[in-house]
Symmetry: C2
Subunit: 119 residues, 2 copies
């Protein structure tokens, strides 16, 4: 079984998570991988907890997709450290980090279209 973690920032405001929960539900319908959300801070679950849950459910490989628009300290420093810790904790499980979703041209185009259609 493959696991897919959508890794987002987190917020003190519970409502903040809503678009990410919608995203996780939408991705789940489009992939055979088991999808889980994880947050860097301020709300559970942590990346480590989400990965541990996927491994306990039988995941042999796990993709981590940063649901961040820009490539900054959270995706360039925090995430690699968390992923390294998860690899140490789960030897034999392949754990791969991808680029933040804001690096995808199709995502930028969709955001631009959503903004421009109201102009």
């Amino acid at each position: 079984m493959k696991g897919l973690v959508l890794f987002a920032h987190g917020s003190r405001d519970r409502e903040w998570a809503r678009p990410f929960e919608e995203l996780a539900a939408t991705v789940s319908r489009q992939t055979d991988a088991r999808v889980r959300l994880a947050y860097l801070e301020l709300m559970p679950p942590s990346l480590g907890d989400a990965i541990a849950a996927l491994v306990s459910e039988g995941a042999k490989s796990i993709r981590i997709v940063p649901v961040f628009l820009g490539p900054g300290g959270h995706t360039k420093q925090d995430l690699p450290k968390l992923a390294a810790a998860a690899r140490e904790r789960h030897p034999g499980i392949e754990i791969a980090c991808e680029a933040p979703i804001g690096e995808q041209a199709s995502v930028i185009e969709a955001i631009a279209a959503a903004i421009a259609k109201k102009a």
Copy 2:
């Protein structure tokens, strides 16, 4: 002339701004409004400076689009305060704040599609 401000978080990392700069360039090609980026913190220009620049260039109405994925403190508390200060500073100019782009179904669908196509 209409102004359009893309309001994002900001980062210590200059490279973080790249997707937002691409977004601004893409939106500019799709609208007659004059488009400017502004950041909440850590990098210039501030929202107040971006709005002042648009007003000095002749903007009579300004849309502020929060380029944030989730609705949290930055868009629910910080942005309204900054927009209120801008309205006080520029009486007669219509300044409207919109929902964060992560609230748009088309944006969530595009992010989901970009993630799922690699699964």
